[in-house]
Symmetry: C2
Subunit: 139 residues, 2 copies
């Protein structure tokens, strides 16, 4: 898999874990090797796996936690660290913009940092989400 695709796969896995409320997959999405941090919209910053994952578990245990579709992913890779920016579409009505920073651990890219904030996004600027993009044959 090209490195860019591997990073996008990790980004997508993070949002799938969130949308499907899969706590185990969410834990897996985050680095165990590096100090992690997370900035939810409007919150103070959270540090470390305990604080960060407890916050996600709390959010994901709420049956009204949103389904997130991502758009306009951009990737910059530099060695074993990568940053992804994307637009988060929440329940098809609200938008946020996110920064996701990943590190490569073995063959897997894992989150070390996430920040999301509400944003004034023009829906006309959105590219189809990764899941909706036509793909070539997979044979």
């Amino acid at each position: 898999m090209a490195e860019r695709d591997a990073v996008l796969f990790a980004n997508s896995a993070f949002y799938t874990a969130f949308s499907t409320r899969d706590l185990e997959a969410m834990d897996e999405a985050w680095s165990s090797a590096k100090p992690i941090s997370c900035i939810h919209p409007g919150w103070n910053i959270l540090y470390g796996r305990d604080e960060v994952l407890r916050s996600w578990h709390g959010i994901m245990r709420n049956p009204n936690s949103p389904k997130v579709k991502t758009h306009n992913e951009r990737v910059v890779i530099c060695g074993e660290m990568a940053v992804v920016t994307c637009v988060e579409e929440l329940n098809g009505r609200q938008f946020a913009i996110a920064t996701n920073v990943f590190v490569k651990e073995g063959h897997t890219w894992r989150l070390v940092h996430h920040q999301a904030g509400p944003a004034n996004v023009d829906p006309a600027s959105l590219e189809p989400s990764e899941d909706e993009r036509p793909r070539g044959p997979v044979n």
Copy 2:
């Protein structure tokens, strides 16, 4: 200079450029080699040096643009990419939290991405800003 200090120096140079409205220093703070992006609080994401630097020049030409003091800097370095998170204190009254991603170009760390968002920060959680920290002798 230890790598962590070099990254913190670049982070500090970025905020000094902003606070002193030094357009040239702001241009220097950003990477020319990698595709850059910037998320101002509530704005849509901006891409590329033209869009990003135009936005900063616009903000910095406003005589009421804020003085920013930073607190609680945390650095994660992975090879030639680094992420800094910090609390931004704006004019001593408002707070935002920022993610700043840097790449190493030669001996200099330059921004490839910045996101800031308003945050509910407890002033009691703030460490002294870098400028106010006691330093060892520099001889």
